[in-house]
């Protein structure tokens, strides 16, 4: 059992309220870094000094926040109204168990039971504003004694391994956090490596924007978890990425055209070291690279990700070989970084 993945996915850290996960990561890396600090948004920024062979400043990003819910009101019957924090499909909510607030009060997301629904209702999606979190309170005051408006609610899922795959919540992006932690635990790099465990990615890449500006790296690598929609298809179309086919390399998404030479370099390194990889199908989505890239005079960025099925639901599935390969790819790519790879050409 991978206890790092277990601890990281079972910890809570909804966008904007990442204290618990940040503390856990701080404890996990403290002994392996030379300095760490938390900035004004809550990003955990840790420096692992290099051997001194290279003067590059390299930044590696992994967001620590996960999607979740926020309590917006308490009804007279003691149930909780809620808003979504980050992109959650209403269809993934009904009947799920959540933990609410700092005291982790357990509740269930309820709606009208199937017995009492009309055929028409069963064919339509219940909107999240028509659902309530039921924490077993009898009336408003009972609930208000335990819950505050503004409290976050997170899914409750026990980490499990099913052969080569693992099941848990928030592999987006805790699987990548685990990789970054492992990188910090490893041998020093020739250059100073700044690990940024960023907040508020799921609500608009907000943490990475200030972290990228503050760190001002020569180059940045973003570690992510990208949705795998690789169920059988009838037509001749590609899956965006497939589980078990190796880490995904980004070329273009809605936020970033990744640095073409950096991307090509990653693919070359993977091929040379026999690390399987796949090109993430270009198109929508986005990573923190989009927020880091425009800082100062521009930062060369690339993103690599572990494929994950059913992201932004309580139950995700990843492949543990993909996980090992993402770690290997990230480490190998970092150790191969040379300034000439991305250095702006000077002409005159």
């Amino acid at each position: 059992m991978n206890s790092l993945l277990q601890q990281l996915t079972e910890a809570v850290g909804i966008s904007g309220e990442e204290k618990e996960i940040r503390r856990l990561i701080r404890d996990l890396i403290q002994e392996h870094v030379d300095e760490w600090r938390v900035d004004s948004l809550g990003n955990l920024i840790a420096l692992k000094k290099g051997t001194g062979e290279s003067d590059l400043q390299v930044m590696v990003d992994a967001h620590i926040d996960e999607v979740g819910l926020m309590v917006t009101d308490i009804d007279s019957d003691g149930t909780l109204r809620f808003a979504k924090v980050g992109g959650i499909d209403d269809r993934a909510l009904l009947g799920k168990v959540v933990q609410v607030g700092p005291n982790k009060i357990i509740g269930v997301i309820g709606g009208r039971p199937v017995h009492l629904s009309t055929a028409e209702e069963r064919d339509t999606v219940v909107k999240h504003r028509d659902m309530r979190i039921d924490i077993g309170a009898k009336k408003k005051d009972d609930a208000a004694a335990k819950i505050n408006v503004g409290d976050r609610a997170a899914f409750v899922t026990q980490y499990e391994e099913l052969g080569e795959t693992a099941l848990g919540k928030a592999f987006d992006n805790r699987a990548a956090c685990a990789v970054l932690i492992e990188l910090l635990r490893g041998d020093r790099y020739p250059f100073d490596l700044t690990a940024v465990f960023t907040v508020q990615e799921e609500v608009g890449l907000r943490g990475a924007r200030v972290a990228g500006y503050a760190v001002q790296p020569d180059i940045a690598l973003v570690l992510e978890c990208t949705p795998a929609y690789d169920l059988p298809k009838k037509e001749d179309v590609s899956s965006n990425v497939m589980l078990g086919h190796g880490p995904a390399v980004y070329v273009m998404d809605s936020r970033t055209i990744q640095h073409p030479r950096f991307v090509a370099h990653i693919m070359q390194v993977a091929a040379a070291h026999n690390i399987p990889y796949q090109i993430r199908q270009p198109g929508g989505g986005g990573t923190n690279a989009g927020a880091i890239q425009p800082a100062h005079g521009g930062v060369p960025v690339a993103s690599i990700a572990i494929p994950g099925r059913y992201p932004h639901t309580p139950n995700m599935i990843i492949n543990l070989t993909d996980y090992a390969n993402l770690l290997k790819l990230a480490d190998t790519v970092l150790r191969s970084l040379q300034r000439n790879l991305f250095e702006p050409e000077s002409i005159l």
């Binding site: 001749d236 936020r255 055209i257 199908q281 270009p282 890239q293 425009p294 100062h296 050409e345």
Partner: protein, 330 residues
């Protein structure tokens, strides 16, 4: 100038893959710049030094064009794609694309059940003459630009990627003609404008200009049944007052107008209801800058036959020259 325009518009350069355009411009302007470099995103930055009495001015024209990126190669060797920038499906059928290596292909679409409706983008494909996935020379992640040679019809020119190679022409010509200026002028041939002004944002974040001016195309209101707009081809350079992203600095707008009037340069005031330019990104980058835009009126934007009038282009070059050779006191 037609020759310069022809070379520039026919080059391959979808957003993120502007190397060929950059290399061409680099060679073209090298004799005229005091310093030149390429930044991390691929912006070409050429400095023309001033006499020390003026401001730091950033002039930006984007080198990238809209295009497509391959998302899937079918068993039979057809290419499905996604858009790079604002691609309108109505412009696709029967069109041609070119890849970085010069290879071309034609675009067609799945069967139309209802001819009055357009397909979504994922129902179009590119045929590069391959017969199977195995013999297809293109792979997922490759980018293509649209292709069509320049058409010269008297003063009217039509081509793909007039947006914004014609702005690059204005920048290149203005730099060539700029003998002395009070200002340090940074000519930025920017990247990734069509996907969100990303190159100009990074450049301005690095350069911290006092004044920034974008050179880009704008729409026109002089074609049949079009969206009304008080801009016509052949009526001169367009001085942007406002567009969908920014309100140009009022003082800079006034100054542009005064300079145009004083030098007898035909001009028109532009209010563009949708869309924006690098000027928006430069206005709010870093600590902010005084920002405006000199626009080239253009018909059929984001089609493979974007049309401009050569006299308007000349007016834009002259206006930019008047601004750069005089003090900018606002």
């Amino acid at each position: 100038m037609i020759d310069l325009i022809r070379k520039l518009v026919e080059l391959y350069g979808p957003s993120g893959f502007e190397d060929q355009v950059r290399a061409f411009i680099q060679a073209e302007i090298a004799p005229y710049a005091d310093e030149m470099r390429v930044d991390a995103l691929g912006n070409l930055i050429a400095l023309k030094k001033g006499d020390g009495t003026g401001k730091r001015v950033l002039v930006s024209a984007h080198t990238d064009e809209i295009g497509v990126m391959i998302t899937h190669v079918t068993e039979k060797g057809f290419l499905r794609f996604t858009n790079i920038g604002g691609v309108f499906a109505a412009n696709l059928l029967g069109g041609r694309v070119q890849f970085a290596d010069g290879r071309q292909g034609v675009i067609y679409g799945d069967k139309f059940e209802d001819r009055s409706k357009l397909h979504p983008l994922n129902k179009y494909y590119i045929d590069v003459g391959a017969t199977s996935k195995e013999d297809c020379p293109v792979r997922v992640g490759d980018a293509a630009g649209f292709y069509r040679p320049l058409l010269v019809m008297g003063d009217r020119l039509a081509a793909k990627s007039m947006d914004d190679r014609i702005g690059c022409v204005v920048g290149i010509e203005a730099l060539k003609r700029l003998t002395a200026s009070p200002h340090d002028v940074y000519f930025v041939f920017s990247v990734q404008e069509e996907v969100g002004l990303r190159g100009a944002a990074a450049a301005a974040n690095g350069l911290h200009p006092d004044v920034s001016i974008a050179l880009d195309v704008t729409g026109s209101g002089d074609t049949p049944e079009c969206h009304p707009m008080a801009i016509s081809l052949g009526q001169g350079t367009a001085i942007k007052v406002k567009d969908g992203g920014m309100i140009a600095h009022a003082g800079l707008v006034r100054l542009m107008r005064q300079r145009a009037e004083a030098a007898n340069i035909p001009h028109q005031m532009e209010v563009l209801e949708g869309g924006t330019t690098d000027a928006y990104a430069m206005q709010v980058a870093g600590p902010g800058s005084i920002s405006g835009c000199i626009s080239i009126p253009c018909r059929y934007i984001h089609s493979a036959s974007e049309m401009v009038d050569i006299n308007d282009v000349e007016a834009c070059i002259r206006l930019l020259g008047e601004i750069l050779t005089h003090p900018i006191d606002l």
